[in-house]
């Protein structure tokens, strides 16, 4: 069959007009003729069976969903009471997701993707029992969700809450249904049709060498900045927190123990070892409280942020060169376990507790660009502050990685790709609810940079009360009491989003279980689970970046391509760690506050990757000859491009120092030249020099990102126009092969699908297909 040749050969050259394939007049997508095995039941539903019959109960259910969603949106957006109940966020989100999933994703399926269940997926035709395995759709959904969701959707919405709840809520929900979920779905489908090829390879196939290379360099640069800023979030959460430092560092021995257990004691017992690890983790959190109270514990584990940053850099290097089985894999199991568990717990708690929200729909900072948490105006900075949860380019790397190789049937891509992203968006909504359920005064005291608050309770109270927030009158007692409740020395200027989310989660959970006595446990539980995601992402990101770098260096010296050549791996790991480590140190020591100046760069990087992914998808859709439906991709691409390019332009050209990196740079250089000893929040000449250095790096990064993105988008537009003119192009898909299996497409099997499944159940054992989960 030449299976291996097909998998490894250069797939960009596909024979045109193969036997058994009709080309429609005017080019575009070829309609493959697939001969089914006559001894087997059908591998796909008939079109007649697949069509929805609108029975009265169905109509009533959908009308009810629409009405409930409408009421919820009215409560959130139009009714201006003193407070709004958090349950309306849940209803507005879930009803909108259901409608978008049922109608919009179905529309995308019918117009531009047209999956064909008679075609075998890579998991079927390349099945090897390891990474290519037809996987049950429900299992794969969990798998895919665990791979895409991390700390991102938990952090962005928290920071964006400074503008009030409505801008963030609107963007998270509308953004996901029109942009984020569309991107994930398209990339997953197109990668599946290409044997699970990566985004970089697809970019090279569709956009040529220059466009493809720009896409790969952009991916590498974006990976570095994302790892750096995630690490900065952890550093900010653990700084001056002996409890947090103790319990998070305990995850390392716990993971090592799990790794050894799985390798030498009971190989393959992953769930078992994850439960053991989880129990140990909870014990580590409780023990953190005891240790932090002792004198020696406080002395050993109260660490300066710079020390923690250096620790994470050393850790990142060691973790990335250690074998996977020892540290990365076990911590990944733990993190998956915690992720699903905590999210289900938080959703349940919000529904049961239903906190009243006092934050206004639009805050005092929604109209200007002077917000203390993240600077910049609502447009475009809201849309880059919340990346994950609404539109996250990083997902394109997952959707073109492991998941497409595990899809059992083509039609399941809608449930896994589009549906998986809806779930991440729901996580973002819950993070937003958690963040706005705490007192606004506390929110601003925690999220304003140390440069503004001076890091002291008095400074924070003075600063927050000077912001002129309606209904906010912060007192030192409130801040000290809250800090005591969560078992911390202080909560002033705990920037980065993670501590705020942890406080919100603790605030909600303690109303359900344990009261204020358990608040410190819940707080550190939340810190721990965010740190766990981030450390896994840091480790995995470093490995992927190293791998890409090895591939690039391989062009110069072939030896680098050999993955078993350790010096090559070490050199590339060191280069990548140095790159993100430098940005991390820069953020930690930044006299201007760090996260508030760097976080926009994280969002811009992530959205630029989304723009690149959507650009590749647009070129493919045009090549398939569906010019009429191109807007499905062009609209989110246009929006992402406008947002990120505008945000980058603000960052590069804005004359406002708080917004523009170069304006800030010029202001500080000027002050240095005139011989000033302090300027703004920088209190010494060294600090002023640091600002000049940092803004130079940030400014250059902005320019690099935006240039690469414009190149990629430009090539994509050029290829798209060319395809529209010629009516389509040669597909770079793998050849169509007939499928020999059947499975339902959505979460719940329809009546017709169940009937067909029954027919498959009667097939002789030796003809039945193999799959995972048995």
């Amino acid at each position: 069959m030449g299976k291996d040749a097909r998998r490894q050969g250069n797939r960009s050259v596909q024979p045109n007009g193969r036997a058994g394939e009709r080309r429609p007049a005017g080019g575009g997508e070829a309609e493959p003729v697939l001969v089914q095995d006559p001894d087997l039941p059908p591998t796909a539903l008939d079109e007649a069976d697949d069509r929805t019959v609108w029975t009265p109960p169905k109509v009533i259910v959908w009308v009810a969903i629409a009405l409930l969603g409408g009421v919820a949106w009215t409560m959130l957006a139009l009714v201006r009471g003193e407070t709004v109940n958090a349950i309306w966020f849940v209803f507005a989100a879930v009803c909108t997701y259901l409608i978008a999933y049922r109608f919009y994703s179905k529309f995308i399926e019918r117009t531009i993707l047209r999956p064909d269940d008679r075609r075998a997926t890579p998991a079927e035709y390349d099945q090897n029992g390891k990474d290519f395995v037809p996987t049950d759709r429900r299992v794969l959904y969990g798998h895919h969700f665990a791979a895409i969701a991390g700390a991102g959707p938990l952090v962005g919405p928290v920071l964006a809450a400074q503008m009030g709840y409505l801008p963030g809520t609107l963007w998270i929900i509308i953004g996901v249904i029109l942009a984020g979920a569309v991107q994930d779905y398209l990339v997953l489908f197109f990668s599946m049709r290409r044997g699970g090829r990566s985004l970089g390879q697809m970019a090279r196939d569709e956009l040529g060498v220059v466009g493809g290379t720009a896409a790969i360099i952009a991916t590498l640069a974006i990976m570095v900045i994302i790892v750096a800023i995630l690490a900065l979030v952890v550093v900010n959460a653990l700084g001056e927190s002996p409890w947090g430092v103790f319990s998070v560092s305990m995850t390392i021995p716990i993971a090592l123990f799990m790794g050894v257990y799985l390798r030498y004691l009971r190989p393959g017992r992953i769930t078992e070892v994850s439960i053991i690890g989880f129990v140990l983790l909870v014990f580590a959190i409780v023990a953190g409280g005891w240790v932090a109270e002792t004198e020696w514990g406080a002395a050993v584990f109260t660490l300066d942020r710079t020390v923690i940053a250096v620790g994470i850099i050393v850790y990142g290097f060691v973790a990335a060169i250690l074998p996977v089985w020892l540290l990365l894999a076990p911590r990944d199991y733990l993190s998956t376990f915690m992720k699903i568990g905590t999210i289900v717990m938080l959703a349940g708690a919000i529904i049961l507790v239903r906190p009243e929200i006092t934050v206004p729909a639009f805050s005092e900072f929604a109209g200007g660009d002077s917000g203390p948490v993240v600077s910049g105006s609502l447009f475009p900075f809201l849309f880059v502050t919340i990346a994950c949860g609404a539109l996250s380019g990083f997902h394109a790397l997952i959707a073109s990685g492991t998941t497409p190789k595990l899809i059992e049937k083509e039609k399941q891509t809608r449930f896994i790709g589009y549906g998986g992203m809806l779930m991440e968006s729901f996580v973002a909504i819950m993070a937003l609810v958690a963040a706005i359920s705490i007192d606004r005064g506390i929110y601003f005291a925690m999220n304003s940079s140390g440069a503004a608050t001076g890091g002291t309770v008095e400074g924070a109270v003075a600063f927050v009360n000077s912001l002129g927030l309606v209904g906010v009158n912060l007192t030192p007692e409130v801040l000290m009491q809250t800090a005591a409740n969560v078992g911390e020395e202080s909560i002033v200027s705990r920037t980065g989003g993670a501590p705020t989310l942890a406080l919100g989660l603790a605030h909600i959970m303690q109303q359900l279980i344990g009261g204020t006595a358990l608040m410190s446990f819940w707080y550190h539980f939340a810190i721990m689970f965010e740190a766990l995601f981030i450390l896994t992402a840091v480790d995995a990101g470093t490995r992927v970046a190293r791998f890409m770098l090895q591939d690039t260096f391989g062009n110069i010296n072939k030896k680098f391509r050999d993955p078993d050549w350790r010096p090559g791996a070490w050199i590339c790991t060191a280069v990548m760690v140095a790159a993100w480590g430098a940005i991390l140190i820069m953020g930690v020591t930044d006299p201007l506050g760090g996260i508030n100046t760097l976080f926009p760069l994280f969002g811009i990087a992530n959205q630029l990757l989304a723009a690149i992914a959507l650009a590749v998808c647009m070129a493919i859709v045009a090549k398939r000859g569906y010019a009429r439906w191109l807007w499905i991709v062009a609209v989110p691409l246009g929006f992402a491009a406008v947002v990120t390019i505008t945000a980058s332009m603000f960052k590069i050209f804005s004359p406002v120092p708080a917004v523009g990196y170069w304006a800030q740079n010029a202001a500080f250089r000027n002050a240095l030249e005139t011989g000033e000893e302090s300027f703004g929040t920088a209190t010494s000449r060294e600090a002023m020099e640091a600002v000049v250095r940092n803004t130079t790096v940030q400014g250059i990064l902005s320019i690099v990102f935006v240039t690469l993105a414009i190149i990629v988008i430009g090539f994509a537009v050029w290829h798209t126009i060319r395809s529209i003119r010629t009516g389509g192009g040669v597909s770079s898909e793998d050849p169509a092969l007939p499928s020999r299996r059947f499975a339902p497409s959505g979460l719940i099997a329809t009546k017709a699908e169940k009937d067909l499944e029954k027919r498959w159940a009667d097939v002789d054992a030796d003809k039945r297909p193999a799959r995972t989960g048995h």
Partner: protein, 95 residues
């Protein structure tokens, strides 16, 4: 070996955790008990499949079916090779 979720037949047709037959003569306690067992099996099946406990069984089944003559490595060796493969080709985790 883990089984398919309660009531849903796997693609290979084994209704290993099939729905309990409803019979009015069966006392309620037995029905509830059967429901709990089914629910537990479904959760167990989902968690072990998602976490990857079943990877070795899947691989063995694949080898037996597609390459019947080939020797099948033991579970320990299988996991060693799997992790070694992950070392060579790292996969991404998201933010």
């Amino acid at each position: 070996m883990p089984t398919a979720p309660g009531g849903v037949r796997g693609a290979d047709g084994r209704a290993s955790a099939g729905p309990p037959v409803r019979d009015d003569a069966v006392p309620l306690g037995v029905l509830v008990g059967a429901g709990v067992v089914r629910g537990w099996r479904a959760v167990r099946w989902f968690v072990t499949s998602m976490m990857g406990d079943t990877a070795y069984a899947t691989f063995v089944e694949h080898q037996r079916r597609e390459h019947p003559g080939d020797p099948v490595p033991d579970e320990r060796t299988f996991w060693r090779e799997r992790f070694a493969e992950q070392d060579r080709t790292p996969g991404s985790r998201c933010c």
